[in-house]
């Protein structure tokens, strides 16, 4: 049984339909990437999964149970952590406090336990250890991305949703972020990764889906997607890679 299954998911913002019925499955332990250009509906899909928007039609199954229309608080308690586009690090809280709050979905933990876990998170993200006490807004984009991912992992998610982790980052930082995604994958956390940077997305993924204006254009393994010349030119070409 897939860990996550989208069945003919339709999402509307008022009059505008952003996602026109897509079906996707993510198996346990997989890293699946959702590719496509700006406005293809990738972020909207993630927002529907984590409960920030309510699907207009279709269903979202997590572990076989429908989670469509549940509140974000309830969905993260069931084990889906969403690291949204733009990092969304709390600007007025310190790095460590930001990371600690990632455990808000888990009950019965003492403040001390959470603090210990947050400290341990710095082993995975050594670059931000020395900013532990710094306020969120003082960090660079890459550092904020590290904090955002660490905060997401504090939820101990069974499924991690990552939205454009490479957006706006320098190439060397993008490499560091993807090294972390590869490490998360080794730890058997299932990941659904949204990327405009197809090259990076496919480099860590088991499978990929390509969205085009709210519809599923194609899917396959990285090699299959990479091998399709037409697709490569249209969606996965150097333009998007260099733009990110």
């Amino acid at each position: 049984m897939p860990l996550l299954e989208l069945k003919n998911l339709v999402v509307r913002y008022g009059e505008i339909e952003a996602v026109h019925g897509i079906s996707i499955a993510v198996e346990p332990g997989e890293v699946v990437t959702l590719l496509g250009s700006n406005g293809a509906g990738k972020s909207t899909t993630l927002r529907a999964i984590s409960g920030l928007v309510t699907p207009a039609a279709g269903d979202i199954l997590f572990d076989g149970q429908s989670i469509a229309g549940l509140k974000p608080e309830e969905i993260v308690r069931r084990g889906i952590a969403h690291v949204p586009e733009g990092r969304r690090v709390f600007p007025g809280l310190s790095v460590k406090e930001n990371i600690m709050l990632g455990a808000s979905n888990r009950s019965g933990l003492s403040r001390r336990q959470i603090a210990t876990e947050a400290e341990a998170m710095f082993d995975l993200f050594p670059d931000i250890r020395r900013f532990s006490g710094a306020l969120g807004w003082t960090l660079s984009g890459g550092q904020q991305q590290m904090v955002a991912v660490a905060r997401g992992l504090m939820a101990k998610p069974r499924l991690l949703l990552l939205d454009e982790p490479s957006l706006g980052l320098a190439p060397v930082i993008v490499q560091a972020v993807f090294a972390i995604i590869a490490e998360i994958r080794r730890r058997d956390t299932t990941v659904l990764l949204v990327e405009q940077n197809a090259r990076m997305g496919l480099s860590v993924a088991d499978r990929g889906y390509v969205l085009e204006t709210g519809r599923l254009a194609l899917s396959g393994t990285p090699d299959e997607l990479w091998g399709n010349e037409e697709i490569r030119a249209a969606y996965l070409g150097g333009r998007t890679a260099s733009a990110a």
Partner: protein, 291 residues
């Protein structure tokens, strides 16, 4: 010099009341991005609670005090559910109008239930005050300053050293992200309203023996507290406290050295000066950097 010390004491005393009400403004503003125009009425209603429980029903002062604050907590919760919650997904304008409506309702409901005549509430202590050197320390002002100082320390500890405090801060900084982490946003906002109603009420009860208890006291206090938040820098907790104290001191000195009838005018003169020359307030730059 003696007069200066005396005025400073009185100024800090009255400024503490403005600071408490200003804190209520700031906390609700940070949690909901909306100015609660009924914040002053919280002070007025609490003072009438106190009159009802202590004067009319004859409860001991301390018990009336506790019951009144519990009453304010309930009022804060009802206020959240009735005035803010139904409009939480709207823009700020409907919410502001809603709080203005609630303010009018609270003032007129009090008028309907109690009648227009002002009441006198005695202070907490039997001793009206005592002399320390040349300065006469009014016992009620001492209480106001002590309670405000204690509350500021407690609040600092709560926001800086508890997980709940951090969750409240996270909610005020980014509600959507807080929800994604599993923080119960609606509950956090409820806590904010209850706390703001209680500290607004506390300010009203503390200042009531110094002023008369009337249905108009809310509007006066709220205007001053609002000015205090502008001076301090809107949305900043430290700014609200400094702004409140500064306003109390300016007003007291203005009344003593310039003109008593224009006492209220000084507060607004300072407010206008800040709006023209430093609209972000004393601590405004830090807020701007955060955004």
């Amino acid at each position: 010099m003696d007069l200066v010390l005396q005025l400073l004491f009185t100024g800090i005393g009255i400024g503490s009341v403005y600071a408490l009400v200003a804190l209520g403004f700031v906390l609700i503003f940070r949690a909901t991005n909306v100015v609660n125009f009924a914040q002053g009425e919280f002070s007025m209603v609490a003072a009438f609670f106190m009159v009802m429980f202590s004067v009319k029903l004859g409860l001991p002062y301390w018990l009336a005090f506790i019951v009144s604050l519990i009453g304010m907590g309930v009022l804060g919760a009802v206020f959240n559910l009735a005035v803010y919650y139904p409009l939480r997904h709207r823009t700020y304008l409907p919410v502001i109008i809603s709080t203005i409506g609630a303010s009018i309702l609270l003032a007129n409901a009090t008028l309907a239930i109690h009648g227009p005549e002002p009441e006198v509430l005695s202070g907490w202590f039997d001793t009206p005050g005592f002399l320390v050197g040349p300065v006469y320390l009014d016992s009620q002002y001492l209480l106001i300053i002590a309670v405000t100082a204690l509350l500021v320390v407690l609040q600092y500890w709560f926001f800086e050293h508890t997980l709940l405090g951090k969750k409240l801060q996270a909610t005020s900084q980014d509600k959507e992200m807080a929800a994604l982490l599993g923080i119960p946003v609606a509950l956090m906002i409820m806590v904010t309203f209850v706390y703001s109603a209680v500290i607004g009420g506390l300010a009203g009860i503390l200042v009531a023996p110094v002023l008369f208890v009337s249905i108009h006291m809310g509007a006066t206090i709220a205007l001053k507290a609002f000015a205090a938040t502008i001076i301090g820098g809107f949305g900043d907790v430290t700014g609200a406290i400094i702004g409140g104290l500064a306003l109390g001191i300016i007003e007291t000195f203005g009344a003593a050295y310039v003109s008593v009838p224009y006492k209220d005018g000084f507060a607004f003169l300072v407010l206008v000066a800040f709006l023209v020359f430093r609209p972000q307030g004393i601590f405004g730059e830090r807020v701007a950097e955060k955004a």
